[in-house]
């Protein structure tokens, strides 16, 4: 927890918020960090007149400061049945990751919102701020149960339409979506959100051969009961990995083209290592 306290959520952009926070904004405002001078105009706050310059030049100049604002942190968690799979479970991993990131957001006085989406509908908790709301966020996350099929596109549309202000959006999902992710991500692309697509995959999905998948199998999709008959062979596993790499690469390219950041996260990764090392290197945290 002490380590998490030192972290903060990074945005490649400086976003305006509704409350004055600890984040620099592009808007000039009240802070300690000097930005510029301008000529005094009628109605300006006299407290910001630089009296030293007036004494020297006999003209009124107004000092301008960068205004520090708070940050909206939106965490969207895929709770479809496919997330409750793998060892460790992708869902539990996402719960822990969301909690950690939410905690970081709350600790840094960011406005934290969380969404959970699956075919059962959308659940949300919004506008949490301050460390004292941590318990509330944790309780919400623990109440989530995975199930149903993925409704990614609808959920993204809902989130995009209902968002307040601007900020950082984290999408925690495996992105293994038969209906495709393109439409949903397009909703988020235009709104000034700094969007991070965190693709959470279990070791069984990344390297099924090494985790003991073998023999003649009838694979059943946990979401839609779809089946696939396979005979596990070296050639098939090789082809699967090629397909997985291609799928992830395509998602990454899609994100990059739209100013989003894509990260693939293995659920076998230690959470502290992920937070303190990986996500810092990738610019999500500082």
């Amino acid at each position: 927890m002490a380590k998490l306290d030192q972290l903060d959520v990074m945005s490649r952009k400086i976003f305006a918020g509704k409350l004055q926070g600890e984040r620099r904004s592009k808007k000039r405002g009240i802070s300690v960090e000097f930005a510029d001078y301008r000529h005094y105009a009628h109605g300006d706050d006299l407290r910001f007149i630089d009296w030293n310059i007036y004494a020297r030049l006999d003209r009124l100049f107004l000092k301008m400061f960068l205004e520090e604002e708070d940050l909206s942190l939106i965490i969207a968690i895929d709770t479809s049945a496919s997330m409750h799979w793998g060892n460790p479970s992708k869902f539990i991993f996402c719960q822990r990751l969301a909690m950690a990131l939410g905690y970081i957001g709350l600790t840094n006085h960011n406005r934290v919102s969380a969404f959970a989406f699956d075919s059962g509908g959308e659940r949300r908790i919004t506008s949490l701020r301050g460390r004292r709301r941590t318990r509330e966020l944790g309780s919400w996350l623990l109440d989530l149960t995975p199930g149903g099929s993925g409704v990614f596109n609808d959920a993204m549309r809902t989130i995009a339409l209902g968002r307040q202000g601007k900020g950082v959006m984290l999408i925690l999902s495996d992105f293994l979506l038969k209906e495709g992710y393109e439409k949903g991500l397009r909703y988020l692309a235009g709104g000034g959100y700094d969007t991070f697509c965190l693709q959470v995959l279990s070791p069984e999905e990344i390297d099924p051969g090494r985790t003991g998948l073998a023999g003649d199998l009838r694979l059943t999709d946990v979401e839609d009961e779809d089946t696939a008959e396979i005979t596990v062979s070296a050639a098939l596993l090789k082809r699967y990995k090629q397909n997985l790499d291609a799928y992830c690469g395509k998602l990454r390219e899609f994100c990059v083209r739209r100013g989003m950041t894509h990260m693939t996260i293995d659920t076998a990764t230690e959470l502290d290592k992920l937070l303190l090392d990986y996500l810092r290197k990738r610019g999500l945290l500082k």
Binding site: S82, G86, E205, V222, R239, Y240, N243
Partner: protein, 660 residues
């Protein structure tokens, strides 16, 4: 390629291959497994194989390998063999030529044609009797070797080992080549007569003949339904120069000297130069170089006319008896005809007995000859000595119009005039009147320089000679002079009494008496090499008291002989040319007595050894097969080995797929 058990293989293939393919079409019982998303798996599976069943089959390496393994197994069960003959159910006769020309060394490295023929025959037997587990029972086979006579080495048998042993036992001979006896033998064994209908039953046999095709009586033979397969042994470019004649004479004026002649034939298509060596008792005496012209094809008759040349050695002193040898020192394919030997007896003066003592013309003529002794015998004296078996002291006995009683003419050398002596083959059937001489055989030694043109005959005995009796002079009403030569019995008979003709008045009378007595006196010890040929028997007279009789035979060593009557000794038939030395002991003499017999090939027909491309048996042409056509090579062991290899590969592929 042939198949021994194709039906079994086909049944096996039908039984195992379709089920294997069906197994691949059946749904596999798969283990259910929940998974987060089938998205990527479906894509992967689709990438790996298309959905079309044939494409699936094509890409299924395991099925392909299993199919190959099964097909190889089926292939092995069908027992394929390459270059093997067809397996037949009927009777097969293997005729193997072991004549002189088959000793030619043109079949390979240190291998004669007979070796090659035996090897091929062995392979054919192996092929016929190499059936596996599922093959049907092969027919019977017989092994016959033939040269100038045929010999059964193995009667009809299904035992492969017995047949192979028989082939191994076949030995070369220096005989000529005739097929008649062999075919007669084969037919005697193959023709089964149905006792009810008294007609031949069963299919004609297959004759597989292994020869160079140089068969003297081939045009006279006819195939009576037999299927003949001709295995050509030897090459068409065989090099051979052959000695076809050798003669030795003692000049009349120098009885202690010897004069040697030899005749050589060249069958090659180019002229050759030969060194001909004369040896006396294994000591080289002289070498003459002669050039023999090339052989040419006579376009008119289509016959090959060999080049011919003679060699004459300068007369040399040889007062004692000796073995002379003429050797052609030039190497060629057939060695047997490169050497000819002849035994020269010491100059011998003859003891002649004349019966009856009252003879006039004959006695006059004999007294004029240079004889050691002429004994005049009355009929009673002759008959008494014949009964006492004391006639072997005479070299020649002359009957002048006398015929001894039957049984009193033991084997010996006889010259008779007038009455017909009691010899088989001379059948008298009356008397004839005056007649003239129509023709005579001048080449016979007894008729050399004998001119009978002016001979008038007043009367004599009509004679019906048997086929083996040689007619030396033919008159207008029948034979006038005949010669009989049977084993140790030699006879020249004149069918008329000289007193009833003008012959005693002619010069030819004395010449004939001299020739006939000399010829008969030297018979069997001869100055005429052709007297003993391969296929004949050695027949000679030894003293009745001779013991420890043995014969030294070329390539066989000493053969002890135990004749019932040494005075009628015979041994044969002779199978190989060379020098045969007879030895015996006489009780009152310390030294072992010996007598040599030279047997030479001297056969123009056998000397031509270029192989015949196709046999003309009567009107049937039988194409020759190359030497290797009967090689048997079973393929099933290879198929089984390959099958195991494919199974190992299949095992590896399977585990490579399963080990991830």
């Amino acid at each position: 390629m042939t198949w021994l058990t194709p039906v079994t293989g086909a049944i096996l293939a039908a039984a195992v291959i379709p089920p294997l393919i069906l197994l691949y079409f059946l749904k596999l019982r798969r283990r259910p497994q929940a998974i987060a998303s089938t998205l990527l798996w479906k894509r992967s599976v689709e990438d790996l194989r298309a959905n079309a069943p044939f494409q699936r089959l094509r890409r299924n390496l395991l099925l392909l390998l299993q199919l190959i393994a099964l097909l190889l197994l089926v292939f092995a069960v069908m027992q394929p063999q390459i270059q093997a003959g067809r397996q037949r159910g009927g009777k097969t006769i293997f005729l193997i030529d072991n004549s002189a020309s088959m000793t030619a060394m043109d079949a390979g490295e240190d291998e004669t044609r007979l070796d090659e023929a035996k090897r091929l025959a062995r392979e054919r037997v192996e092929a016929l009797y190499a059936g596996g587990l599922f093959s049907r029972v092969p027919g019977e086979s017989m092994i016959v070797a033939f040269s100038d006579r045929a010999e059964v080495y193995c009667r009809f048998s299904r035992s492969k080992q017995e047949l192979l042993d028989a082939i191994d036992r076949i030995r070369p001979t220096h005989g000529g080549t005739t097929l008649a006896d062999a075919l007669k033998l084969a037919r005697a064994y193959t023709t089964n007569v149905d006792p009810e209908s008294d007609r031949p039953v069963g299919a004609p046999a297959t004759i597989e003949i292994f020869t160079d095709g140089r068969i003297a009586d081939l045009p006279d033979q006819v195939l009576r339904g037999e299927h003949m397969i001709y295995y050509r042994i030897g090459t068409e470019e065989a090099d051979n120069v052959t000695i076809t004649a050798i003669s030795v004479e003692r000049p009349y004026d120098r009885p202690t000297a010897v004069e040697v002649f030899a005749s050589l034939l060249n069958y090659n298509r180019e002229a050759v130069t030969c060194d001909v060596q004369l040896s006396v008792d294994d000591t080289a005496l002289a070498v003459e170089e002669i050039r023999i012209p090339l052989a040419e094809m006579d376009e008119g008759s289509g016959q090959l006319l060999p080049g011919r040349n003679n060699v004459v050695f300068t007369p040399f002193e040889q007062p004692r008896g000796a073995v002379l040898e003429i050797a052609n020192l030039r190497d060629d394919a057939l060695l047997a005809d490169n050497v000819a030997q002849i035994v020269v007896p010491p100059p011998k003066r003859l003891i002649v007995g004349l019966v009856p003592a009252s003879s006039f013309f004959v006695r006059e003529a004999l007294e004029g000859l240079s004889l050691k002794r002429l004994e005049l015998l009355t009929q009673e004296q002759y008959e008494q000595r014949a009964e006492e078996n004391r006639l072997d002291q005479y070299d020649v006995i002359v009957f002048d119009d006398y015929a001894p009683p039957p049984g009193l003419m033991p084997p010996g050398r006889y010259l008779s005039f007038g009455r017909t002596p009691p010899v088989d083959g001379l059948n008298e059937f009356g008397e004839h009147g005056a007649q003239l001489v129509l023709n005579i055989r001048e080449e016979h030694p007894a008729l050399r320089f004998v001119n009978l043109d002016n001979l008038r005959i007043g009367g004599g005995h009509l004679l019906q000679p048997a086929p083996d009796v040689e007619v030396l002079a033919e008159g207008s009403q029948g034979p006038l002079l005949v010669a009989v030569s049977r084993g140790a019995m030699h006879l020249i008979h004149v069918t008329f009494d000289p007193g009833m003709s003008t012959w005693p008045l002619l010069r030819s009378w004395v010449t004939f008496i001299f020739n006939a007595v000399e010829y008969l006196g030297q018979v069997g010890q001869g100055l005429t090499a052709k007297d003993l040929a391969v296929g004949e028997a050695i027949a000679t007279r030894l003293p009745s008291s001779a013991t420890d009789i043995a014969l030294a035979v070329p390539e066989s060593g000493i053969v002890p002989l135990e004749p019932r009557d040494p005075s009628q000794l015979s041994w044969g038939p002779i199978r190989l040319a060379g020098l045969y030395v007879l030895s015996w002991e006489v009780p009152d003499q310390d030294e072992t007595q010996t007598r040599a017999f030279a047997v030479n090939l001297l056969d123009e027909f056998e000397g031509r050894i270029d192989v015949v491309p196709e046999l003309q048996v009567g009107q049937t042409e039988v194409a020759g097969r190359a030497g290797e056509s009967g090689v048997y090579t079973p393929l099933w062991p290879w198929a089984v080995a390959l099958c195991l290899l494919v199974l190992m590969l299949e095992w590896w592929v399977y585990h490579r797929k399963m080990w991830v």
